[in-house]
Symmetry: C2
Subunit: 414 residues, 2 copies
């Protein structure tokens, strides 16, 4: 009866972390406590609540799709990230949600029936897999390269689904396009474009639209301040086929849980109605906090500070990896986000039950086994020789110590 939601392995990891006080967690995707905008938020909330004119609306119900000012500021913010491009960044298609997570959940509710199929990167964001599992939606993995999905493999997967008669169940391709969780990979615009064309090509055989669901949760956590890869929304033909989701949660503060989506019609209206049934709309007070941060420029200033902090911690982790990890471990380095991705030589398992993981735990260091980030896809075996290593929440000293401990474990095991 009802949902059969499995125990998320991540709960187990978190529990482990809490039960060993000396443990250094390189597992959590938490952001860094020291960079949280405590002072800025206090100032902004004071400004909002100083007068009843702005205070009362902030404490009242709002509109389901989100506060008008935040929807407009969000569209403008994305236009800026996309170098001024404005084709698909209309405030009318912006919906404000409880983090981007809630947008992902509601989009799947709007798009998929039980037994439907969503194509995902191999590996991908494991909570997305958990949503799919809970809703009896199947995932099919597409190989991931350092600049995005392997296009040849994507076409191969689509072709196989066509031949097996399952193409009519395929509703979307889910891509985490910036500093991906877990690998750190960023999808090039050329790959976004080619993937979109491929999906389009198979729509006739599918009998319906196949959407590109672009998850840009880590987009603003970039280390340099250079040019950003534009979103798939900017591509020709994207208007009716690209769903974009982003968040203010990670770059600003997770404790505010404000994210957003941009959706084409008729999906936008369906998701808006689902949002009405979930919660009528995201807490107005938080929306006003984020809106004011954006409007005053304090958001941008804060994000620059956050970026510098993660860039520094990534450099610390990089040099520790170079010093302590065996040379046979392949490291994927990222230009942003919170993670390094490490691939052990074939045959060496880093999975939950592996000697590497258990020994690491005994030595008080925790990582996320890569196998957790692979879909249950019967058409291929799950690689188990990878690890996601995060520099998000640990401080510099613990990053160094943690990598040293992990390196010792690996040197004994490889």
């Amino acid at each position: 009866m009802g949902q059969r939601t499995d125990v998320p392995p991540i709960s187990w990891l978190m529990h482990k972390a809490l039960s060993r006080p000396k443990l250094i967690s390189l597992a959590a995707g938490f952001t860094d406590n020291s960079t949280l905008p405590v002072e800025i938020s206090r100032k902004l909330l004071n400004d909002i609540l100083r007068s009843s004119k702005t205070g009362q609306p902030a404490l009242q119900y709002g509109v389901t799709a989100g506060a008008e000012n935040l929807r407009q500021l969000t569209a403008k913010h994305l236009q800026k990230l996309d170098g001024g491009h404005d084709r698909a960044h209309s405030p009318e298609h912006v919906i404000i949600t409880g983090g981007s997570q809630q947008l992902l959940y509601m989009t799947l509710e709007a798009l998929c029936d039980e037994g439907d199929i969503v194509l995902v990167e191999d590996p991908t964001y494991f909570v997305f897999l958990s949503i799919l599992q809970s809703r009896d939606i199947k995932a099919r993995g597409v190989k991931l390269e350092r600049d995005g999905v392997d296009l040849v493999h994507l076409e191969y997967v689509l072709e196989r689904l066509k031949k097996s008669g399952d193409l009519h169940r395929v509703k979307a391709l889910y891509l985490v396009t910036y500093f991906q969780n877990p690998t750190g990979a960023t999808t090039s615009l050329a790959k976004k474009s080619a993937a979109l064309k491929l999906l389009k090509k198979y729509e006739r055989a599918a009998g319906h639209s196949i959407y590109l669901l672009e998850d840009a949760a880590y987009r603003e956590l970039r280390f340099d301040h250079g040019a950003d890869v534009p979103t798939a929304l900017t591509l020709p033909g994207a208007k009716d086929r690209v769903i974009y989701t982003g968040t203010y949660s990670k770059p600003y503060a997770p404790g505010t849980r404000v994210g957003f989506g941009i959706l084409p019609e008729p999906l936008f209206t369906t998701v808006e109605r689902i949002k009405g049934n979930h919660d009528f709309g995201t807490a107005n007070l938080l929306q006003q906090l984020v809106a004011r941060a954006l409007a005053t420029g304090l958001y941008d200033r804060h994000v620059a500070k956050v970026q510098n902090n993660y860039a520094r911690k990534a450099r610390v982790m990089k040099s520790a990896l170079a010093e302590h990890f065996p040379a046979s471990v392949e490291i994927w380095e990222s230009g942003g986000g919170l993670y390094f991705w490490a691939r052990l030589p074939k045959g060496i398992s880093a999975g939950m039950k592996s000697c590497v993981f258990q020994t690491a735990l005994k030595n008080d260091v925790l990582y996320v086994p890569g196998e957790l980030c692979y879909a249950d896809d019967p058409s291929r075996a799950k690689p188990d020789n990878e690890m996601r290593i995060s520099f998000g929440s640990a401080n510099e000293e613990n990053i160094r110590k943690g990598i040293e401990r992990l390196g010792k474990v690996l040197k004994k095991s490889i």
Copy 2:
């Protein structure tokens, strides 16, 4: 494909309200702007964000089930409302959600498959009906009396479902037990107890548990400060069968969207996992705001003020109703909440397409047609001669004017 969510009629009503600036809305279930805790919230947020020790955790991710302090304060708060009773008010079974609405949504996800049946009051909270419709869950109406469901009719409905072979699809009875939306009715403890026993009696034939889902969203909006009816949680045998949901949104501030549920195992764990997939947990900053309001006693002081305000506005509406409404209209008066319920003589429609509704709209006054609050239940016709009239958001002058306008329309129609 995916969810087929109908246009909620309430959106249409809201839209109407916005498009006629002179309109007096007695439709909205909004709370009163003038009572919103602007100054209190400013003080509390300042206190939280003054030091990084409390400010950082408030801006960081929390735990999915909710902040430990708020879960404990919530259990304690309910114990107090229930006159010290503590049997079923354990913090371990409290989950904090985005308003009580999100708890209702997730509970239905956890409990029901497509085609399942939930028994509801006739009439009931219309957004609950909208959730059921969007998830292809059927509703069966049980007659409502001024002190709760008609027990004879409840047994009749269960018996009929048993005979038609549909009892195995019945998962819950949904009751809005305090100052019900839309009628203002409060369910007596005797009726809660009898209903629980009746559900239990049919469990064997159903082949599974049938839950009593108690929605106490309006509980704290009582006009007197007298003794509260205890929740069904306090009844013997309730521990494994009662799901309770409440909210801080209405008594404190809707813009904070913090509600909660108390659920028995294994439902609690399922809902907690669903919550993890929805959004990882409600925004920590808002949880800390509510927790501090509760802990400092400012919450209680604020709620007393809100209660006095609504009590006064209810008195204003009551005397306006006595003055302007035809004597043939039956009025249900409530001891709390935001609504009066008016029943026109049989044969006079108050529905969306009725002359009464259209004339009222032309005369710039809006109410919620009672028919919207009835489930699509093929086993009975929907009454259409009722109206929900709210004193929630209008000020005293507009309450008087609105009722006067409505009275004139009714006098012409009856």
